[in-house]
């Protein structure tokens, strides 16, 4: 009895979005209590990262009516996390973030089921990611975003007219914060720009010249980078610096301090050392809360259709007053990660040599002297000579065999093409489909052989 009252009051606000029709709803919106139950029953959300944003996201999603949630994070809790990663307590220091975060939210939000994964995102196989309806990202690194983006885009398939097939679109909601600034965005691979289409949005990291660090340090950051980039190698021959090892960090801090004293430079602290070495700007709890709320709302909108989604990039700036803005970025139609590429149909008997010749004649490509790569394997390289030699023997083999007898897959080709009478080098994505290959038999063969 008590249970049901609690349930009702918890979904009261959600019901205003899910039970009533509206004018600004998404295309397939079907309001009603069934929808509320479907969100619990069928929608599985993966939260990537259980740090400042991840903690907020897990709590927000659990309170927004999602029941099946999983979270992946490779980090353990540190004392310095406690000021904003509110799911963690002092006694949790040293424990995996994903596990503690999942447990705390399950304790507080009845009925929600959160499965933690304490590992690297690269450790999970493709079908782990394929299991989720939506992936929500609470990360602080470009590398990790780029990785998840490429995983989500790898599910995307296009039809013969280069239109994305709806059922292969894996939506992502990405949040990011730096101090008082942040962003929230919706990525629908094939429909809105993917992370790689707009990677230029991320400013390159500031890197000081090494000789400045070695000769003429002027700031505390110079002293820290000297200890981190130059002094470390001098003293620890061969041992790699590990930014997540507190003893390594302490060593860099101590050395930076000595250097700062030598040059009379103030301001070296342990937290600045961590910030400079890991390239992080201090996180602000309120920024995380605002950005994650925006991300959770977009997740709900994608899953339920209760409103049109953000299109497609929200920026928030709380440094001076408050400023938010939504920008509709456009896709890079030639994006190597989310773009359709050029469809090429082939007989299974075509050799790699013949394939390269076909690219030269293909009206959409006119690509000469192509080098070919397939899923990290270089099938043929025109240059440098050492690679050409190592891959030359593949030329007489059939492309179908070289690609592991998969009926269709993506390959990448670099070659030269004539643009306005000027030779330019281009890298193209190609969707290769083999004609007359029985998909079922072949799948079995591939699986059996693996």
């Amino acid at each position: 009895m008590v249970e049901s009252t609690v349930q009702q009051s918890r979904s009261r606000d959600l019901d205003k979005l899910l039970l009533r029709p509206g004018n600004l709803v998404g295309p397939n919106f079907e309001p009603g209590p069934g929808l509320r139950e479907d969100l619990k029953e069928y929608v599985r959300v993966l939260v990537v990262g259980a740090g400042g944003l991840g903690c907020e996201l897990l709590k927000d999603l659990a309170l927004s009516g999602f029941r099946e949630i999983e979270v992946i994070d490779m980090d353990r809790i540190e004392v310095s996390n406690l000021n904003r990663q509110f799911l963690f307590r002092l006694e949790d220091v040293g424990k995996p973030k994903a596990e503690v975060a999942a447990r705390r939210v399950m304790q507080r939000v009845a009925g929600v089921n959160i499965v933690p994964h304490f590992c690297r995102i690269e450790d999970k196989e493709l079908d782990f990611y394929s299991n989720f309806s939506i992936i929500a990202l609470g990360l602080d690194s470009i590398e990790a975003r780029s990785y998840i983006n490429s995983v989500a885009c790898s599910f995307l398939e296009y039809d013969a007219d280069d239109k994305p097939q709806e059922e292969t679109v894996k939506p992502m909601v990405d949040g990011g914060t730096e101090g008082f600034q942040g962003h929230a965005r919706v990525i629908m691979p094939g429909i809105t720009p993917c992370f790689e289409c707009t990677i230029w949005l991320f400013p390159p990291q500031v890197k000081f010249p090494l000789c400045t660090l070695a000769e003429t340090p002027r700031t505390a950051a110079h002293c820290i980078e000297y200890a981190h980039l130059i002094k470390w190698d001098e003293v620890h021959s061969g041992e790699a610096f590990d930014p997540d090892d507190p003893e390594h960090m302490k060593w860099v801090y101590d050395e930076a301090n000595k250097r700062a004293e030598l040059f009379g430079i103030p301001g070296v602290t342990l937290s600045l050392t961590q910030g400079v070495v890991k390239n992080i700007i201090p996180a602000i709890a309120s920024t995380n809360a605002i950005i994650s709320a925006a991300c959770a709302l977009e997740t709900l909108k994608i899953a339920s259709g209760c409103s049109k989604t953000l299109s497609n990039y929200l920026t928030y700036n709380g440094a001076e007053g408050l400023h938010t803005k939504v920008t509709e970025f456009v896709r890079d139609k030639d994006c190597l990660v989310c773009g359709p590429g050029v469809l090429i149909e082939l007989d299974a008997s075509v050799t790699l040599q013949k394939f390269i010749e076909l690219l030269e004649e293909h009206p959409k490509l006119l690509l000469s002297k192509a080098s070919i790569a397939h899923r990290g394997k270089n099938l043929y390289m025109q240059a440098p000579p050492v690679l050409e030699e190592m891959t030359r023997s593949n030329l007489s083999k059939s492309l179908y065999d070289l690609m592991g007898k998969i009926p269709k897959d993506v390959v990448h080709a670099t070659g030269t093409t004539n643009k306005n009478d000027k030779k330019t080098s281009v890298l193209r994505k190609l969707r290769v489909v083999f004609k007359g290959v029985d998909e079922i038999t072949d799948m079995e063969t591939a699986a059996g052989g693996a």
């Binding site: 397939n28 079907e30 069928y42 196989e125 493709l126 079908d127 394929s130 299991n131 309806s133 590398e143 780029s146 490429s150 599910f155 097939q165 059922e167 292969t168 679109v169 894996k170 939506p171 790689e196 990677i199 500031v206 890197k207 000081f208 010249p209 090494l210 000789c211 070695a214 000769e215 980039l229 130059i230 001098e234 899953a303 339920s304 259709g305 190597l336 990660v337 080098s371 790569a373 899923r375 990290g376 270089n378 390289m381 025109q382 240059a383 440098p384 050492v386 690679l387 190592m390 891959t391 998969i406 990448h412 670099t414 080098s425 890298l427 998909e439 799948m443 699986a447 052989g449 693996a450």
Partner: protein, 182 residues
């Protein structure tokens, strides 16, 4: 509402079609590097090698044999480590050959602007190799990483020349022993 059932089934199917094994996907950095490599055009005095074989382009070595200037006849090996988000980030380059050089320290750190403060995504591996080659034909004392070598180059080029020779043929300059690289 997105057609959640359909989505899940189709993607499950796709993952299984790939044999259920974690097929390697190429990072955006690897793809761009594939382009850099296939259009690589090195000076005759430079050679590239791939210690991990043809499918690992992200870790490679370049040897440079300057054919003019103080370092003529020497052979210097550089290791390159390329990030998955290349060209957003510059490759990490280290000199594996211990060298007496104003802009390269004894640990192999290299002071070359395009490797750090002046890196731009339009640059490529070719540009970096030419930049490194340039360091040997025109070492400069204004961006020192080896303070002593820089001071000698500035104040006494004749002595710098003989120090370089001594280092390259395997000998001491000051307290430091250099292995033969000629």
């Amino acid at each position: 509402m997105i057609r959640l059932f359909k989505v899940k089934e189709k993607q499950k199917e796709l993952a299984e079609a790939n044999g259920g094994s974690p097929l390697k996907r190429q990072s955006a950095g690897e793809l761009r590097l594939h382009k850099d490599m296939s259009e690589l055009n090195l000076p005759k005095s430079c050679a590239i090698s791939f210690p991990n074989g043809k499918d690992d382009l992200m870790n490679f070595e370049v040897s440079i044999k300057p054919d003019e200037g103080y370092y003529t006849g020497g052979k210097f090996l550089f290791s390159f480590e390329v990030s998955p988000i290349y060209p957003h980030d510059a490759p990490k380059v280290k000199c594996k050959t211990k060298v007496y050089h104003p802009n390269i320290d004894l640990e192999g750190n290299v002071c070359l602007n395009i490797l750090r403060e002046d890196w731009k995504p339009v640059l490529n591996i070719n540009t970096i190799v030419y930049g490194l080659y340039h360091l040997f034909t025109e070492p400069n004392h204004e961006d020192p990483l080896n303070h002593d070598a820089a001071a000698v180059l500035r104040d006494n080029p004749k002595m710098f020349e003989s120090n370089v020779r001594r280092a390259m043929t395997g000998g001491y300059v000051g307290q430091t022993l250099f292995p033969r690289c000629i």
